[in-house]
Structure formats: structure tokens, C-alpha cells
Amino acid sequence: MSEKLPPEVAEAHWNKTRSLMITALLIWAFFSFFIHFFVVPLNNIVIAGFPLGFYMAAQGSLIVFVVLIFWFANRQNKIDEEFGVAED
């Protein structure tokens, strides 16, 4: 076991981690649910044969999810390094 972190460092680290979690989940909720509430109007926009509402559910949101996870992993790493709690 490593030496114990000073409580204020641990708390600051966790606060940042928590806000990152909330940001990530807001983006997740937006592309999982919110945007698809508007599928009917979005379907009136057609790009390269794809109605936009259909496209978002079939591809758009999925691409966002993949990028979001890599972005999150990167940000969380930075936070861990900033507070000196990253793995060696």
C-alpha cells in the first residue's frame, strides 16, 4: 500500500473527478436520448441520402460515444497526474 494521501488533496482530486463524470454523463445523455426526441424534424434534413434523424441513431451518436470515452480516459489521466495519484 502507498502512503496515505493528505485528505485535502484526495478531496480536490475527487471533486475534479466528479465534475468530469458529470460532464461526460451529460454528453452521454444528450446523444443517447435528447437528440433522438427530435428525430421527426431532423429526418427532413437529408444528407447524402441519409435522413439526419436516422443517421444520428445509426452512426452519429455511436461515433460520439467512442470519441467521448477516449476523451474521458485522457482527461481523467491528466487529473490523476495533476494530483500525483496516477500509477507509476
Binding site: 500500500m1 502507498s2 494521501l5 484526495a10 482530486h13 475527487w14 473527478t17 466528479r18 463524470m21 461526460a24 454523463l25 452521454w28 446523444f31 443517447s32 436520448f33 433522438h36 428525430v39 421527426v40 429526418n43 437529408v46 444528407i47 447524402a48 441520402g49 441519409f50 435522413p51 434523424g53 436516422f54 443517421y55 441513431a57 445509426a58 452512426q59 451518436s61 455511436l62 461515433i63 460515444f65 467512442v66 467521448l68 470515452i69 477516449f70 474521458f72 480516459a73 481523467q76 489521466n77 490523476d80 500525483g84 495519484v85 496516477a86 500509477e87 507509476d88
Partner: protein, 616 residues
């Protein structure tokens, strides 16, 4: 040779899988050449099955182990990218491979709830769970619950939920592998099931998680190539561009024209025709939360070397899953376009009885399944179809509306529908088989490891030595696998339809205690245990009440529905129930000990190595 390789196996992964991919490509080319020089079709199909099972068995035997941590978590040495591929294979079941495009074909836009639901959940895995479970260093999911929530009661409830969601699921995978094997080898389903069982055991029995990991990577490569190739083929034929995911916009427009021409009532891209908006969104929610709760998925993230790698690995997992899921809608569109074309180009938009393609009859006449239905009858022979259609007043031919294809045959039959040669058909079969085997292996380990590690080692005999533990683990693994195969052999229709429930059950029973265990220190043992029971209980109550009613018989009129929610989305009641009960009970019980609060603090900081120092 096996032993001299092992030491530096993980250093040479790139080289080893590079050779494997080259060998696989060579094999496919060999099959293509063989079919051109007139080798019988049946021989080619057998060769695909034999070659792929052979290579999985080879990897399984090479990865045999007598080390407990290798058996349970692959020695925690799996790099993020490879764990991503293994998770992809673990995740994409026979049903995803075989049925996903078919579901989209039939449901159109509404089917995309599955595409969204089965991908977005990985965001929850990455953000809320995987890094913390990895840091904890457990061997199984119930192991985490038992440690965080004070012992065997929580562990036991976790095992019950795990068993409820995983056992029906594995039965369906064995069933799927049996169907594919019987289809492609031309042998009876009752024997084919055991071909599937053998395929599963060779990957898992000798090497546990270590062997399953390395075979799943190999299986991912087979299944993704098998999935992408026909879609690329169709895209190239129709548009001259081999990127189906970009070109099928044009196909969607063409389908819309055909739909007008053929007077199809339900347009492919128009939402909410097969599902209400409420069911569409609750289904997405349940599938996503379920993804983040299924033990066989979570345990894959126990195998990475570090917490950092665990996070990155979730990204790679979703990337590899995404490759299949963003191709599935393209697959569905091309298949639909090809099929509708038969009718749109026929006189009066009716397909003449004399022009019924051979594949419809081939698939239609498979015994024991009704895969192709024309004019309400099983499409066994032209005469039978003609008689039925004429009975309905269709002379000379039948319209598009009178044709129904089973979801599960779309992917497997598309190569024949689009007129692709036998070596593609065989490849697709091998891909579906790989998908079913890899998922079955993951589930088998999740169940058997919970029994051997949690029930046997932690609850019955904590003093057992390494050798004994591994023996027990392997014996239980074989028993669970055989039980699943015997059950699958009876073709239990009810159990197969229960698979979709697994997501709601896992979501309701496990999501709240896992998430709150990390994110809310105040969660108490009693809160978590009662929360799990409440979530699991509410979901099971709704599932059984909605589908069977309380006489346990379908269609007797005592089934009930709340707010029009479908059984598959029953987690929408269970998940909130679990959170509410956990939080309320926790607030009414004394806060967890100082020790437990410090435990949670350590969970939250990546530094400092595994918390749970496993003996042996």
C-alpha cells in the same frame, strides 16, 4: 514449445496475431480458389468449421495454466487494444451477429434502439465502473459486492442476480452455435449442440480467462471480417465504393422509392411505427444500464495491467463493437434493397411462382423452423406456395407484403440472396459461430467463476489450496457448460425469448450497488442488500406478471402492463427501485465504518496497486 513461447507471449502479441491474420486471409483465399476449381460446397463449409475450431483449440491448449490469477483474470497482463477486441467478441453474441441486421431490416428506425442501447452503455462502464473495479482487483463481480458490503449476504444476492441474467443467456448462445453448426455442417441439431459445446470447452477449460482472452481476440478477427466482407461486397456492386457505411444513404433513398412503388405501409426510416416513443427510449435506457452491469463484460476489465489501461480499454472495446454495429444498418439496407428489387422489377410488382429464388426454398424448407413465410405458409416448395397464394387470390405471383423472413436468417442468408459464392457463405457461417462461441465462453467463466471463487472458495472452503481451487473451478465449468447444452438441446422457446431480459435483470440487480459502492461512501451493507433485492424483485415481478401472469401461463388474460412498457424494458422500474431503496435504507442505518470509508478512498485513487491482495 508451448512453454518456451509463454514467457514472452504478451511481448509478441503483434507478431503472433499478425501471423494469425495472414494465415486466416490465406485460408479464405484458398477456399475461394477451391470453390473456383469445383471443390464441393459441403467440403468448403466443413473446412471453415474445422479450421476455425482447430485454431481456437490450439490457442486454448497453448494458454493452459495452473496459476490462479491467470485462470481468473488472465494474469492481469492484457493490453488495452487486445482487451478491447476480446471484449468485442465477448459482447457480440450469436444474436448480435446473426439477428441484429435482421431486426433492423424488419423494424427499420425503431430497431436502432438496439444499436444505441448496446453501444452507449460503454460510456457508463468507462466513467462509473471499470477503473474502480480494476483498482479493487477482484476476481469476480460478486467478490466486489461481498467485500464492499460486508460479506456473504451481499455476495450471495449478487450471485443470484448473476445467475439469473447469465444462465439463460449462455443457453441461447449454445443454442445459436448449435443452429449454425447444424446449418453449415448439415448434421442434426441434437448433435450439433455438442459440436458447439466442444468448441466452447476447448477455449476455456484448460486456461480459464487467459485462454478465453486469447481465443476471443482470434474470434473477434474472424467475426468482424465475416461481417464486413459481404457489406463491402454489396456496396461495391451497387455503388462502386467499398465503404458500405457511407454509401447506404443512397440505398435508403432507393428503398424509399421501392416502398412507394410496392405500397409498403411501414417506411424504413420513419420512427415509432413498431414501438411507441416511450418503449423506444426505455429500451435504450435498459440496454445501456444493463451493459454496464453484466458481469461477463465487467470482468473483462479486471484483466488489464493498470487502471489507466482499463479506461482506455473501454474505448477500444466500444471502437471494435462500433465497427459491427455501424455496419449492421447498412447490411439491413442493402439486403432490403436487394429483396425489394426482386418485386419492384417484376411484372405488376408480383414475384412469379416460377421465379421464386432457390435460396427462399432452401431456407424455407429447413426442418423445425419457419424461416421464410410466403402467403402465410412455410416456403417449402413452389407448389405449396402457389396453392396458398392462390387461396388468397394471388394468381401467377405474390406481392412483397406476402413475404416474411425470420430476423435470424438475414445475415446468414444475405450472401446467397445477393448471389455471393460459397466461400463467402462459409466465411459468414464461421463468423456467426465465432460470435456465439466467444460470448458463451465469457458467460461460462462468469457463472463458473462465481461458483468456484465466491461460493466454493469464499463461502465453503477458504482454506483450499491452489491446486484444489483450480480443479474445482474446472469441474464446475464443465458442469455448467453441459447443463447449458442439455437445456439448449430441448429447444426451450421460453428460455430463448428470456435472453433479452438479461439486460433488465442485470441493470436492476447490480447497477445501483456497483455505482453507489464507488460514488457514495454512505452506502451501507443493509442498504445495498435490500436495494439489490428490491431492484431484482420489482423487475422479476413485472417480467413474469407482464409475460405470463401469476398462473405462469401465457395468454390467459391475467397478464398486466404498467404504462404500456414492454417486458424487455422492465428494468425501467427495477433500476430506480434499487437506487431509492439503497439510498433510503442507507440513510436510516449507521454510516459505514471508518475503515470502509478509507477503503472507498483507496478505490478512488489509481496509485498504489491492487487493493485486494489475492493469496496464491
Amino acid at each position: 514449445m508451448a512453454l518456451s513461447m509463454k514467457g514472452d507471449f504478451t511481448d509478441n502479441l503483434g507478431k503472433i496475431y499478425g501471423i494469425y491474420v495472414g494465415g486466416f486471409a490465406g485460408f479464405v483465399i484458398l477456399m475461394a480458389l477451391a470453390s473456383m476449381v469445383g471443390v464441393p460446397d459441403q467440403f468448403i463449409l466443413w473446412a471453415y468449421m474445422a479450421a476455425t475450431i482447430g485454431i481456437y483449440a490450439f490457442i486454448g491448449i497453448m494458454s493452459r495454466t495452473a496459476v490462479v490469477s491467470e485462470y481468473y483474470v488472465a494474469g492481469r497482463s492484457v493490453p488495452a487494444v487486445y482487451n478491447g477486441m476480446a471484449t468485442g467478441a465477448d459482447w457480440m453474441s450469436g444474436a448480435s451477429f446473426v439477428g441484429m441486421a435482421g431486426t433492423l431490416f424488419v423494424l427499420g428506425y425503431d430497431g436502432l434502439s438496439y444499436v444505441l442501447g448496446w453501444t452507449g452503455g460503454y460510456v457508463l462502464v468507462a466513467v462509473l465502473l471499470a477503473p474502480y473495479l480494476r483498482k479493487f482487483g477482484a476476481y469476480t463481480v460478486p467478490d466486489f459486492l461481498g467485500t464492499r458490503y460486508g460479506g456473504n449476504a451481499a455476495r450471495l444476492v449478487g450471485i443470484v442476480v448473476l445467475f439469473a441474467c447469465s444462465f439463460t443467456y449462455i443457453t441461447a448462445q449454445v443454442y445459436a452455435s448449435g443452429i449454425i453448426a447444424s446449418q453449415f455442417l448439415g448434421i442434426d441439431f441434437n448433435y450439433a449442440v455438442f459440436a458447439g459445446l466442444a468448441g466452447i470447452l476447448v477455449c476455456s477449460m484448460l486456461g480459464g480467462m487467459k485462454a478465453v482472452t486469447w481465443t476471443q481476440v482470434a474470434q473477434y478477427i474472424v467475426l468482424i471480417v465475416a461481417y464486413l466482407l459481404p457489406a463491402v461486397w454489396m456496396s461495391t456492386v451497387q455503388f462502386g465504393i467499398p465503404i458500405p457505411q457511407l454509401t447506404y444513404g443512397g440505398t435508403l433513398s432507393a428503398i424509399a422509392e421501392y416502398e412507394q412503388m410496392l405500397e409498403v405501409a411501414r417506411a424504413h426510416v420513419v420512427p415509432f411505427q413498431a414501438m411507441t416513443p416511450l418503449n423506444y427510449f426505455t429500451l435504450i435506457f435498459c440496454l445501456m444500464v444493463g451493459t454496464a452491469s453484466l458481469p461477463h463484460i465487467l470482468m473483462r476489465f479486471f484483466t488489464t495491467p493498470t487502471v489507466r489501461e482499463a479506461r482506455k480499454s473501454v474505448g477500444w472495446s466500444l471502437f471494435f463493437i462500433f465497427l459491427l454495429y455501424f455496419t449492421a444498418p447498412a447490411y439491413a439496407a442493402f439486403s432490403k434493397y436487394n429483396l425489394m428489387g426482386l418485386f419492384a422489377n417484376a411484372e405488376d410488382f408480383r414475384l412469379a411462382f416460377t421465379a421464386i429464388p432457390q435460396w427462399m426454398l432452401n431456407w424455407g424448407s429447413i426442418e423445425g423452423h419457419q424461416l421464410v413465410t410466403i402467403c402465410g405458409v412455410k416456403a417449402e416448395s413452389v407448389a405449396a406456395i402457389q396453392a396458398a397464394c392462390e387461396g388468397l387470390g394471388f394468381e401467377g405471383g405474390f406481392p412483397y407484403q406476402q413475404l416474411t423472413l425470420n430476423n435470424d436468417m438475414i445475415v446468414l442468408s444475405t450472401p446467397s440472396i445477393a448471389g455471393m459464392p460459397i466461400w463467402v457463405v462459409g466465411l459468414v457461417g464461421a463468423g456467426g459461430f465465432a460470435a456465439a462461441l466467444s460470448t458463451a465462453d465469457g458467460l461460462l467463466l462468469a457463472i463458473a467463476n462465481a461458483l468456484s471463487h465466491d461460493v466454493y472458495y469464499k463461502m465453503i472452503d477458504p482454506k483450499a489450496d491452489t491446486k484444489r481451487r483450480l480443479t474445482v473451478a474446472k469441474v464446475l465449468l464443465v458442469i455448467v457448460a453441459i447443463a447449458a447444452a442439455l437445456l439448449a438441446q430441448t429447444k426451450p422457446a421460453d428460455i430463448l425469448s428470456m435472453v433479452a431480459w438479461a439486460f433488465s435483470i442485470a441493470a436492476a440487480g447490480l447497477f445501483a450497488p456497483l455505482v453507489l459502492g464507488v460514488w457514495w461512501k454512505r452506502t451501507t451493507n443493509m442498504g445495498a442488500i435490500l436495494g439489490m433485492i428490491a431492484g431484482f424483485g420489482v423487475t422479476m415481478f413485472y417480467l413474469i406478471g407482464n409475460v405470463y401472469g401469476f398462473d405462469f401461463q401465457k395468454g390467459t388474460g391475467d397478464e398486466f402492463t404498467w404504462f404500456g412498457i414492454a417486458a424487455i424494458s422492465s428494468g425501467i422500474f427495477g433500476v430506480p427501485a434499487a437506487f431509492i431503496v439503497t439510498i433510503v435504507v442507507s440513510l436510516f442505518t449507521p454510516a459505514p465504518s471508518q475503515e470502509m470509508q478509507e477503503f472507498v478512498d483507496r478505490l478512488r485513487t489509481p496509485k498504489g496497486g491492487n487493493m485486494m491482495v489475492q493469496t496464491h
